[in-house]
C-alpha cells in the first residue's frame, strides 16, 4: 500500500446498553476506493458517523494523512479534510444546484460580514472563484446543465450526484459516501460507478459504504466487513468473497 491517508484504530461506541462498535479499525491508502460492507445493523453507518464527527466515540485514535484529527464536531472534520454524503440524501432543497455546491466551498473561503456588505475586491474575487469552482464540479459530476435549478426538483440520481459534487467542493482528502447507490436502478448504478472511477482517477480517496456487493467487488481496492459492530474481515475483494466468516454473516452460518 502506498501512503496511508486515513488510519483509525480501536474505535468503541456504546449507545446505552448496546455496544454498537467494538474495537473497529480501518486503514486506507491514498488513491484507493475503500469499501465498508456488512449486513443491516452491522454498524457501518455508526462507524461512518464516528469518523465524520457526527457521533462521539468512546475510545479510538484518528489520523488523517499522518496527522491526528479529533472527530469532535462535523464541521471540524470537514475542515480537516473528510467530506461525506448521506444515506438518505440531505441537500439544501430550496437552494439551486449551484448554490448547494457553493455552500461546500464555505470551509475553504473566508469572507465575513464586512466583505459581504462592502464587496471589496478580495470579496468579489473569492465569490467569483467559489462560483467558478462550483460550476466546474457540477460539470465534473455531469449535471452542469442543471446549475440554476432548485435542487429539490432534480431527479433522484442527479440529487445523488449533486451531493457528491457538494462534498467534493470542500476539497476533501477523503470522500466518504454512505450508500450512494441506494435506491438506484441498474443504469444509474452503472453511471455512479463510472463517476466513482472518475473521482479516483482525479487522485481522490473514496470510502464507500454499500449494500450492493456486486458493485463493491468490481469497484473497491480493499474492503472491510463489519458484523455486529466488529470487524470480521479485511482484504482484497476476492479474499473477502471467499472468506468463510463473511459468507456466514451474509448467508447465515451453519450452526
Amino acid at each position: 500500500m502506498s501512503e496511508v491517508i486515513l488510519n483509525i484504530q480501536g474505535v468503541n461506541k456504546r449507545f446505552g446498553g448496546l455496544q454498537a462498535l467494538t474495537d473497529v479499525g480501518i486503514t486506507i491508502g491514498r488513491g484507493q476506493i475503500y469499501g465498508l460492507i456488512g449486513p443491516n445493523g452491522a454498524g457501518k453507518t455508526t462507524f461512518f458517523n464516528v469518523i465524520t464527527g457526527l457521533y462521539q466515540p468512546d475510545t479510538g485514535t484518528f489520523e488523517l494523512a499522518g496527522k491526528p484529527y479529533s472527530p469532535s464536531a462535523p464541521h471540524a472534520v470537514a475542515k480537516a479534510g473528510i467530506a461525506r454524503t448521506f444515506q438518505n440524501i440531505r441537500l439544501f432543497g430550496e437552494m439551486t444546484a449551484l448554490e448547494n455546491v457553493m455552500v461546500g466551498r464555505h470551509v475553504r473561503s473566508h469572507q465575513g460580514v464586512f466583505g459581504a456588505i462592502f464587496r471589496h475586491k478580495a470579496a468579489r474575487q473569492e465569490e467569483a472563484s467559489i462560483r467558478q469552482r462550483a460550476q466546474e464540479l457540477l460539470d465534473f459530476v455531469g449535471i452542469g446543465q442543471f446549475a440554476s435549478r432548485t435542487s429539490k426538483y432534480l431527479s433522484y440520481g442527479d440529487q445523488r450526484r449533486l451531493e457528491i459534487a457538494r462534498a467534493l467542493a470542500t476539497d476533501p482528502q477523503l470522500l466518504a459516501l454512505d450508500e450512494p447507490a441506494a435506491g438506484m436502478n441498474a443504469t444509474e448504478k452503472l453511471a455512479l460507478r463510472e463517476l466513482l472511477v472518475k473521482i479516483k482517477n482525479e487522485g481522490k480517496t473514496v470510502l464507500l459504504i454499500e449494500h450492493d456487493v456486486k458493485l463493491m467487488m468490481g469497484l473497491c481496492d480493499r474492503i472491510t466487513v463489519l458484523e455486529y459492530g466488529k470487524r470480521i474481515a479485511e482484504g482484497l475483494p476476492h479474499e473477502i468473497q471467499s472468506n468463510q466468516a463473511v459468507i456466514d454473516a451474509y448467508l447465515g452460518g451453519a450452526h
Binding site: 465524520t52 457526527l54 464536531a73 462535523p74 464541521h75 470537514a78 475542515k79 467530506a83 461525506r84 448521506f86 440531505r90 441537500l91 439544501f92 432543497g93 430550496e94 437552494m95 439551486t96 448554490e99 457553493m102 455552500v103 461546500g104 466551498r105 464555505h106 470551509v107 473561503s109 469572507q111 465575513g112 460580514v113 466583505g115 459581504a116 456588505i117 464587496r119 470579496a123 473569492e126 465569490e127 467559489i130 440554476s148 435549478r149 432548485t150 429539490k152 426538483y153 431527479s155 433522484y156 440520481g157 440529487q159 457538494r166 462534498a167 467542493a169 470542500t170 450508500e179 447507490a181 435506491g183 438506484m184 436502478n185 441498474a186 444509474e188 449494500h211 450492493d212 456487493v213 456486486k214
Partner: protein, 405 residues
Amino acid sequence: MALLNFDTTRNPQKAFVSMGLLLLVALAFPFIAQNFGNSWVRIADLALLYIMLALGLNVVVGFAGLLDLGYIAFYAIGAYLTGLLASPQFATLLESLINLHPGTGEALAAVFGEEIRTNGIHLSVWFIVPLAAALAGLFGAILGAPTLKLRGDYLAIVTLGFGEIIRIFMNNLNDPINITNGPQGINLIDPIKVFGVDLAGAAGSGAMVQVGPWSMPSVNAYYFLFLLLTIATIFVTSRLQHSRLGRAWVAIREDEIAAKAMGINTRNVKLLAFSMGATFGGVAGAMFASFQGFVSPESFSLTESIAVLAMVVLGGIGHIPGVVLGGLLLAALPEVLRHVVEPLQQQLFGKILIEAEVLRQLLYGLAMVVIMLNRPAGLWPSPKHEDRPDGDSDTKSQSSGVVPA
C-alpha cells in the same frame, strides 16, 4: 407583481428600473400625502420603522430559519438606550445611584462632568445609532447563545420568554437604581439632529423643519431619514443574503446536519444571524425613541413581536421585496382603517355601527387569514427556479423503485 422585478442577477435592467420607480414614488409620497394632513406621513414614518424591523427579523427567521418570537426585545434595547443617553433620564439614574452608593455615583459625575447631575446625557444621533446597533447586536448574541441547540417550537418558546424578560426588566429597573423609570417610561427624549437641522423643527416654528431653502413638516423630515435607513437596511440585508454567510444561513435553515457536515460552524453562524438581525432592531428602536420622544415598556409587548413576525411571514419569508411589502401593508393597514372606517360607516348608514377600533382588529385578522389561505408562501415569495412543475415525477419519494440489494 409581474410589473416590478427585483432579481438583479437574472434581470438586472428591469430590477434597477423597478427600484428607481419605487424610489421616486417613495420620495414623492410625503409631498402628496401632506396635503391630506400630517397624520398620513406619520403613519408612513411608523411603517418604515416596522419595515426595518421586519427586514431585521427576516435575517433570523427568513434566512437562517430560526423562529424568533422575542425580536421586539432588540427594538426595546435600542429605544431604551436612546432614552437613557439622549434625555434627562441619566440625571435621575445618577441621583438614585448616589443615594445607593455615593462613591460610584460621584465618580461617574466626575468622569462625565457636573452638568449630567441636572441635565442627563445628550448624545448626538451619530453616537446613538452605532451604539444602539452594537448593544442590540451584543444582546442578540447573548440571547441567541442558550438557544443554539433548540429548533422549531422549542426555540420559539424560549425566544418568546426572552422577549418578555427584557420587557419585564424595562418595567422594573427603576429600583434601587432608576435606569428605565419603570412603567412610567422615559420622557423628553431628544429629537434627532442631523447636520445642525433639528428634525422636530426649531423652537417656535410650529414643527416646521428648515433644510436650506426648503421648509417641511417635521414628519416629512423624519420620513426621509427613515427612508434612508430603510434603504440602507435593504441594501445590507440583501448583500448579506447573497454572500458566503447568507448561503451558510440558508444551508442551516434547509438542513442543519448537512450544513455541519459541509464544514459550517453552525454555532458561530447562527449567533451571527441573531446578532445581525438584532442590529437592525436596535437601530429602528433608537429611531422610534427619538421620533416619539417617549418610550415605555408597553410599546414592546409580545403582540408587537408577533406583528413583526406576521409581516415577515405574510410578505414572503426570506424574500426581501416580499418582507418590505408585508411590513408596509401590516403597519399601514390598521392605521388606514382607523382613518377610513368611521367616516365610511357615517356615509353608508348615517351612524357608526361598529367602532373603528373593533372593526380594525376584525379586518386585520380577516386579512391575515385570507392571505395565508390563498398564498401560504406569503404575498410575494422568493421565485422558484424549476423547469418542471411541482407535482412531476422523479422526485425522491417516487424514485426508480429499485430496492437496494
